[in-house]
């Protein structure tokens, strides 16, 4: 069984980027994002790249991005989920009713510490159950995912509507609303503490991976490449935290409740928002989902099944159960997104998450998830969500008409997939 690479030189000349082993696709997406940001920054005369707008961008992205990480797994296994927006609405309805009506009705006073947590738990259980049910229909009864979730698209939003009798439910619990973005941020000190922990963790991960490789006698990158990567990671984290901690709380907001921001009086006190809890949640989910994708059997089976379903089955993988788990997982993520989305608006309304299914799918696809299965990354989906949100809010800031905004977003989606196809052809992959 001969091998062409046998004749290749042992240490071929490699470019700078190849030595760093950076995914060129990731680089391309970051490039696209930077380009969009710079263009809008010029068009808005510097308003796009202010700490305030970047802060808003991150909290607007969180809800869609959380669901998009789950959509990656769904699309990688060659399925689709058109019902995420509807599941989000159903979970939000259940959580709103739990905290505003049902628990107080059962004797728990409004404002009781347990209310938000019981509500969130109820939402997650419902989301997981709906997802698992979808997965069961798809995996065990072999109904195509497209049909099951198209039905779900109609069913679940209206289950939510029925639950709330179509009313807007609010105001939501105070603690619950800290997940919504501006109402719950870490402030300056905590944000920096977390940033430093992340930097240490990132550097430790990079060098630990190197140590393990050396222990196994595998080829490693040159040391300068590792140091460069660690430096880039540290700078990126520090920069992100620096931007978010540069957004100060306006004095009139502090004046409403100075003690909340650690001030005695509003005057002369300039607290900062720092990292929003919703974004922290997104980052935690991104890390967890990446670990699932790369380091667990569950993740390995997801990608194997996406690459070749028959081979996965012949390898003894229970692909039906796998489908149930994947859809249950995206159901849980929809519930978490529902917490973020409803608490951002301070109440539950029935149209919450309308069209989110399309945004979520678009984010995953722009992020490089292939509908043919087997390929996709979590960070790609999050970047995809960020790119979409940047386009949308940038155009809104510039004052582009609403219909034109949607036309542009639609065109960008199609164009992004075209670029992806061309890129893959160049690489010679499928």
């Amino acid at each position: 069984m001969s091998d062409q690479s046998a004749t290749a030189p042992k240490t071929p000349k490699r470019g700078f980027l190849a030595t760093l082993e950076i995914d060129t696709r990731l680089l391309g997406m970051i490039g696209a994002f930077v380009l969009i940001a710079v263009i809008f920054n010029v068009l808005t005369e510097g308003r796009f790249l202010t700490p305030r707008n970047i802060f808003n961008l991150t909290i607007q992205t969180a809800s869609v991005a959380i669901m998009a990480t789950g959509m990656v797994f769904v699309i990688v296994t060659r399925h689709i989920d058109l019902s995420v927006g509807a599941i989000l609405a159903a979970c939000s309805a259940i959580m709103a009713m739990t905290q505003v009506r049902w628990l107080p009705g059962m004797g728990l006073e409004i404002g009781h510490w347990a209310i938000p947590w019981i509500a969130i738990l109820a939402g997650i259980v419902v989301g997981g159950a709906i997802g698992a049910f979808n997965g069961w229909l798809i995996g065990y009864l072999s109904i195509p995912a497209f049909i099951v979730t198209l039905g779900g698209f109609l069913i679940w939003r209206n289950v939510g509507w029925y639950t709330t009798s179509g009313q807007t439910i609010g105001p939501l619990d105070k603690t619950f609303m800290t997940f919504g973005g501006i109402n719950g941020t870490l402030g300056g000190q905590l944000s920096w503490a977390l940033g430093i922990v992340c930097i240490i963790a990132a550097v430790a991960l990079i060098f630990n991976a190197r140590r393990v490789k050396v222990a196994h006698d595998f080829p490693v990158k040159p040391l300068w490449a590792e140091v460069t990567m660690a430096g880039v990671a540290a700078a990126a984290i520090a920069g992100f935290i620096a931007i978010l901690t540069n957004y100060s709380v306006p004095e009139r907001v502090v004046a409403r409740d100075p003690s909340r921001y650690g001030c005695e009086v509003a005057e002369g006190c300039t607290p900062v928002y720092g990292l929003p809890i919703s974004v922290l949640l997104l980052l935690a989910i991104a890390v967890a989902m990446t670990i699932i994708a790369r380091r667990t059997r569950f993740g390995r089976y997801i990608f194997a099944t996406g690459g070749n379903p028959d081979a996965a089955e012949l390898s003894g993988i229970n692909t039906r159960m796998l489908t149930v788990k994947i859809f249950a997982l995206i159901g849980v993520l929809c519930a978490i997104s529902a917490v973020v989305a409803s608490s951002r608006l301070a109440n539950h309304s029935n149209d919450l998450g309308t069209l989110d299914e399309l945004r979520v799918i678009a984010a995953a696809v722009i992020g490089g998830t292939a509908l043919s299965g087997g390929i996709g990354t979590i960070y790609g989906a999050i970047l995809g969500a960020l790119i979409m949100q940047s386009l949308q809010s940038g155009m809104a800031m510039v004052g582009v008409d609403a219909p034109l905004q949607n036309i542009v977003v639609g065109a960008v989606l199609v164009f992004a997939v075209l670029i992806d196809i061309i890129y893959r052809k160049r690489l010679g992959a499928k």
């Binding site: 069984m1 001969s2 091998d3 062409q4 690479s5 046998a6 393990v212 490789k213 196994h216 595998f218 670990i291 380091r295 667990t296 059997r297 390995r300 089976y301 990608f303 194997a304 099944t305 996406g306 690459g307 070749n308 028959d310 081979a311 996965a312 089955e313 012949l314 390898s315 003894g316 993988i317 087997g374 390929i375 010679g428 992959a429 499928k430």
Partner: protein, 249 residues
Amino acid sequence: MTTPLVEMKNVSIAFGGVQAVDNCSIELHAGEVVGLLGHNGAGKSTLIKMLSGAYKMDSGEIHINGEKATIHSPRDARDYNIETIYQTLALADNLDAASNLFLGRELTTALGFVDDDRMEAETRKIMARLNPNFRKLKEPVSALSGGQRQSVAIARAVYFNAKILIMDEPTAALGVHETAMVAELIHELKKQGLGIFLISHDTREMMELCDRVAVMKNGQMVGTERVEDVTEDDILSMIILGKNPREAA
């Protein structure tokens, strides 16, 4: 005679109205290579897929080492140390060689995470034995040549100490040199005491590699013969006419 390693007794399976395998019986002993011959659609692959757990038989029995075995899934077959190299190779093209080799049987760390480094190290070891030129360990197997892909599929079967090996057209996609390597491997595994079922269309190759050949036609077993007792022409007439010339004589 010793107890056969594998004994399939009166096995049948139908798909829709088609009787794909009809009341077939076959034996395999340790250290023996049994070839399965027949036209496309004769039922060779189907028969063997019931042993590998890909299909569930309608009726009949499978005995492993003389004891009745229940094989309902590929996982069951693996528990009996039955490994299969499928005609399609059954590789996940988007994953690298190590992930494919250990698919469904990943090595894990103490915390339960997949241990890619250890799997890669093991893959390097077995590949050094099977295909010393194999170097593309980091790339998805879709980037490999036919021979390299084949060696990944073979490595998967050999690594887990198979006692019974099923090879479905292992040389169909290979060049001359690679075919010779597979033949050599079959001899080596046979010496180690494995029982091997080999499916192929190449009658001459089968005469060289196998101890016995079984011929199927239209889902039925035409006959099983020791290769030294028959000529290539006898085999061909069994394949084409569906009759055993020695019985007729």
